[in-house]
Point group: C2
Chain length 224, copies 2
DNA sequence: AATTCATAAAAGTAATACTATTATATTTGC
DNA sequence: GCAAATATAATAGTATTACTTTTATGAATT
């Protein structure tokens, strides 16, 4: 993406980490290799001990950055949504026609991520895969209400609100704008998952992308 | 529900368990109390050791029924979908008008579950809560393809196919019937979750139910 | 040169997720 | 009615996880 992004830091709620991983070389290596390892072995098998061995550091040093692996997952997904939000705003800001704006927004948030080298230590393609496969686990917990109160999910919620406002701008009479907005995000992640693992449960593939499915669904729903 | 259900056993793929929990009193207590405990403490905190203590049995005895707690979760969700499938077929079988049939189907699969005493040891209300809060964890794993090949998710897939066929019967020209069908199931679980934890991300509540949202979405999408 | 700070190393703890072995109680088949 | 088979319970043990604590070391700062 734009060079501009290289100078912009995605602001993550400070409660999620103990020490900002962007503030040191070790912190960046934690982020870089946790993405590679979670993608490779899945969140359940991933441990701080294994990560420590991989980055030639000690388990206890990683614990100075994140209380536990759940918080690391919350951090990674927050970063992803922050990164995507930036692209959403950047790409839609100058569009005045509400339909065109919403179309572009849906394209951005539902597309398959391709290489982006704005942040050298973060592989956005793999991070997108992690969001598809693991991010539900960040909020499907008994602690969700408490963590929500502490602002762990603000960026995600802001994304939904942005989409909701764009839906409203197209059709102010539609009575489920936030349900539709949240469905665009979760639904497209789910269709991406299905196309990789349950092809019989989706019509989405390389040609009929989740983006096309969602655009068709959204505009038929609100545009009448 | 109907008494009929009391005599019908929901058939679960035998690979999911080591010994059929329906075949013994201990097995039924395992199912009964695992539902109560997973609802109460969440899947992460739930262990076979704690379950053993609760039912006055031993951890090792539970391991003779299920290899691990993941398989127990797959069993519980499969049972739920089998139970819901039965209600879906029962309630829509005699309807000939395609639109009315699909309407009824969506109502059944998206509604809030209320008490049902057909199976004395299974609390369907709590099981529905578990499906909302935990069932994604049954397929968001590194083993999903292997388990899918072994038929762990057949009942769920059959449900999606049934909905897909009903969508086709209303509009054979719609090109995303299975994506829409899978979105009805996952999307409604997600809206139920949001209404309990993230009210700002949904318009659904007791009045504007997920069923109404889904009916509106589906018919606007395919009915034109 | 002294202090502080970040990281590393090592050791320890409680719990988890099992497995294995043996004992006991119950059921069933002849 | 008894032996054999089966189910369950009890006990103990293992490797790993998810941490915490303490101490050491080196690097940067004052």
């Amino acid at each position: 993406m734009e060079r501009l992004l290289q100078t912009i830091k995605i602001a993550i709620n400070e409660k999620i980490y103990l020490k900002d991983p962007e503030s040191s070389d070790l912190g960046k290596r934690i982020i870089e290799h946790s993405i590679l390892m979670i993608d490779d072995m899945g969140f359940e098998s991933f441990t701080f001990k294994k990560l420590g061995i991989k980055i030639g550091s000690n388990e206890s040093s990683i614990y100075r950055y994140f209380e536990n692996k759940h918080k690391l997952l919350v951090y990674l997904t927050s970063w992803y949504w922050g990164w995507l939000e930036y692209q959403l705003v950047f790409a839609t800001n100058s569009i005045s026609d509400p339909k065109e704006k919403l179309t572009q927004a849906i394209n951005i948030v539902t597309r398959t991520i391709v290489e982006d080298n704005a942040y050298s230590h973060i592989n956005e393609v793999l991070l997108n895969k992690i969001v598809i496969n693991e991010s539900s686990k960040s909020f499907l917990t008994k602690e969700v209400d408490e963590e929500n109160k502490d602002g762990y999910f603000v960026i995600y919620k802001r994304m939904v609100t942005r989409l909701e406002e764009m839906i409203n701008a197209v059709n102010a009479k539609y009575i489920y704008p936030s349900s539709l907005a949240s469905s665009i995000l979760e639904g497209s992640l789910h269709q991406h998952f299905l196309k990789d693992h349950f092809q019989t449960l989706t019509n989405c593939d390389e040609e009929n992308t989740p983006s096309k499915f969602m655009l068709d669904l959204v505009f038929k729903t609100i545009d009448q």
